[in-house]
């Protein structure tokens, strides 16, 4: 087949300065959401970018040129969390309409009664008792964990479900594991190494490690003074960074939950991501006092800050958002990153040559 190991010729939708010696890439703005962004995620190869917002439809974009592939229509409430499996065949999303939906990403053609159904079909939905705040596929994507909000009379719950052969009966499947959270509610979840543990960040700043086989708490630490807004692992899964409302982000070891590094800012950090290429961390936040406008009003003043992973020092900023940055993600190849803001924009920013040449003096 011609597709195997073929060269793909792409016409880049990119503005380039022919006169200048270096290539400056303008950021690509993606306007697919009407409300604030809640999460963005790249797939494993990095060619697709999934975004969810407080409006009802998660979007999928091609990260190369920002072209929108499609939207997942079906939810009735704000979509809080999304995840895509490593093969990019399944997509999971949890929303405030008390449902967790599993979507098909890969089916291009499906002949049912002689009609062609396109990608983005919902495989099934799971009704839960309150809003689904976090949902993550496991490494193999055979399992998925989701957590619900605590509402009147109900505790926050963490549930692990099997998604292997999900079909229409998905809504009736019972979870493999159900864990009640007695303390403050879960705001962010990641899987531990080899899917043996689940690590959750809570509203009061605690980070808890659960055992997947028994459902018991292995370990719990409280290093943050404010709610944990986001947890993201590094590319090999040995460490994770936590972004907290207490204006700091901390680097933890994934096995024993010890604090390795702290990155201090002066406004609440909404999201943090570790670069897969260099020893850099990107922090995005908001809720700062409005500064007097002295710069162009067309360029937003909320910025993503880059810290050195080891030296804990900020070395760069990228401005651009018109509202606080709610979510950040590095492209899997580390050469670009994207951020989703309160303003509803997703910005795909490729790095300049100056970023690659930057060397921290020590």
């Amino acid at each position: 087949m011609q597709n195997e190991r073929s060269l793909e010729k792409h016409l880049h939708y990119v503005a380039k300065n022919i006169d200048s010696n270096f290539i400056k890439m303008k950021p690509i703005l993606l306007l697919g959401h009407e409300r604030a962004l809640t999460q963005i995620k790249y797939n494993r190869e990095g060619d697709l970018l999934f975004s969810s917002a407080k409006d009802l439809r998660p979007n999928v974009w091609y990260s190369l040129n920002g072209e929108r592939l499609g939207t997942f229509n079906g939810h009735c409430g704000a979509v809080w969390c999304i995840d895509v499996d490593w093969e990019t065949t399944r997509f999971i999303s949890g929303a405030a309409d008390n449902s967790l939906r599993l979507w098909d990403c890969a089916t291009v053609f499906m002949l049912i009664e002689n009609s062609i159904i396109c990608v983005g079909v919902e495989i099934g939905q799971l009704s839960v008792k309150s809003a689904v705040r976090t949902c993550v596929f496991s490494y193999s994507a055979n399992m998925a964990v989701y957590s619900t909000d605590a509402t009147y009379g109900l505790d926050c719950e963490i549930c692990v479900i099997d998604v292997r052969n999900a079909d229409d009966s998905f809504s009736n499947t019972s979870p493999i594991l159900r864990m009640q959270v007695k303390g403050s509610k879960v705001t962010s979840t990641i899987w531990g190494p080899l899917d043996k543990t689940i690590i959750t960040g809570h509203d009061d700043g605690t980070i808890t490690q659960w055992d997947t086989t028994t459902g018991r708490i292995i370990h719990s630490v409280k290093d943050h003074k404010g709610a944990i807004n986001d947890l993201q692992k590094n590319s090999d899964g040995t460490m994770f960074v936590s972004a907290s409302k207490d204006c700091s982000a901390k680097l933890f070891d994934i096995e024993d939950l010890s604090v390795l590094k702290t990155y201090q800012t002066e406004r609440p950090v909404n999201s943090a991501s570790i670069s897969p290429l260099y020893d850099h961390v990107a922090l995005g936040g908001g809720q700062e006092a409005m500064e007097v406008t002295t710069t162009s009003t067309r360029v937003g003043k909320f910025d993503a800050r880059f810290f050195h992973l080891v030296f804990e020092e900020e070395f760069a900023r990228v401005k651009g958002h018109f509202g606080p940055i709610n979510t950040l993600a590095f492209h899997p190849d580390g050469k670009s990153f994207s951020s989703g803001g309160e303003d509803g924009f997703v910005r795909l920013q490729s790095f300049d040559q100056s970023y690659f040449d930057y060397k921290f003096d020590y």
């Binding site: 597709n3 195997e4 190991r5 073929s6 060269l7 793909e8 010729k9 792409h10 016409l11 880049h12 939708y13 990119v14 503005a15 380039k16 022919i18 400056k24 303008k26 950021p27 690509i28 703005l29 993606l30 306007l31 697919g32 190869e45 060619d47 979007n59 091609y62 040129n65 920002g66 072209e67 929108r68 592939l69 499609g70 939207t71 229509n73 093969e87 990019t88 291009v108 396109c118 990608v119 983005g120 002066e266 162009s296 067309r298 360029v299 020092e313 900020e314 070395f315 760069a316 900023r317 990228v318 651009g320 910005r347 920013q349 790095f351 300049d352 100056s354 970023y355 930057y358 003096d361």
Partner: protein
């Protein structure tokens, strides 16, 4: 001979002008040096002609099979009716934003926290004149303290003559002329009361009181250093008050006690210490 310039009427010319306004030059695509330059003309929102130049560069990349497969997916959801390529409603290029690099953290902190530091630094802003607190003098809570401070100053000014230089330098306040020990100019001895003689003021004198009458009135109380009775220039009548400078405080005190509320020529006298301010 055929004419070089074709004969045209002005009517034809105006028609051509109008055509130009609505006529757009054709768009063109030129490929040069590996760049594809697409030139397009259109009318923008203001109704003016606009030339759009898009420059494309062809690149060849090796891409994974799985990625290519995904490239072939049909669009779904809200993008179901979108054509190939990015939809300008959803995707557009932003302004150039550069990465701002820092060498050290100091710069950032300075710019962001300076404003608030200034407010915290009360030294440079609000300072009460009385108690040196961080509030306006008008709103000073220690108003009594304020008065005390002033009285103390006055008394110390009266007693202390030699140190007035230092006092003035330290306090940096206005000191009334009669209290200025070092700077007292005895130009007008009548106006200058001085503070080494005790002065009393007698008011409510009848207009036909003379110096002689006054002298006889106060002589019994003790020796007098100065007697001052202001009179009107035109008719020589006294203005109704007088200042007597006794040589001793006791005499002055006795004079006040005796003469105050004392009847003199159909009027009741008012006698009191003469105030330091005029």
């Amino acid at each position: 001979m055929p004419s070089i310039f074709p004969l045209t009427s002005w009517a034809d010319e105006t028609e051509a002008e109008e055509k130009e306004k609505t006529h757009l030059p054709p768009s063109s695509e030129v490929i040069q040096n590996g760049f594809k330059i697409q030139t397009e003309f259109r009318f923008n929102n203001d109704g003016k002609k606009e030339k759009i130049v898009r420059i494309y560069k062809r690149e060849q990349r090796m891409i994974l099979t799985s990625v290519i497969k995904r490239r072939l997916w049909k669009k779904f959801g809200d993008s179901i009716h979108d054509k190939n390529g990015p939809n300008p409603a959803n995707t557009f290029l932003g302004e150039d934003t550069e990465m701002i690099f820092f060498t050290s953290n100091e710069n950032i902190n300075n710019s962001e926290e300076n404003i608030f530091d200034k407010l915290k630094n009360h030294n440079s802003f609000v300072k009460c004149r009385n108690c040196n607190g961080d509030h306006w003098t008008l709103l000073c809570l220690h108003k009594n303290v304020k008065n005390k401070l002033k009285l103390e100053e006055n008394e110390s000014a009266q007693l202390d003559t030699g140190n007035s230089d230092e006092k003035i330098k330290t306090h940096n306040k206005y000191i009334v002329p009669n209290l200025r020990g070092f700077n007292s100019k005895k130009i007008d001895s009548f106006n200058n009361k001085g503070f080494d003689s005790l002065a009393i003021r007698i008011s409510n004198l009848s207009p036909n009181t003379t110096d002689h009458d006054l002298e006889e009135l106060v002589k019994p109380f003790g020796p007098i250093s100065k007697l001052y009775l202001p009179k009107y220039k035109n008719n020589g009548l006294c203005k109704g008050f007088a200042f007597i400078h006794f040589k001793s405080k006791l005499d002055a005190h006795a004079a006040i006690k005796a003469l105050d509320k004392h009847g003199y020529d159909h009027l009741i006298l008012q006698v009191d210490w003469s105030t330091s301010t005029n």
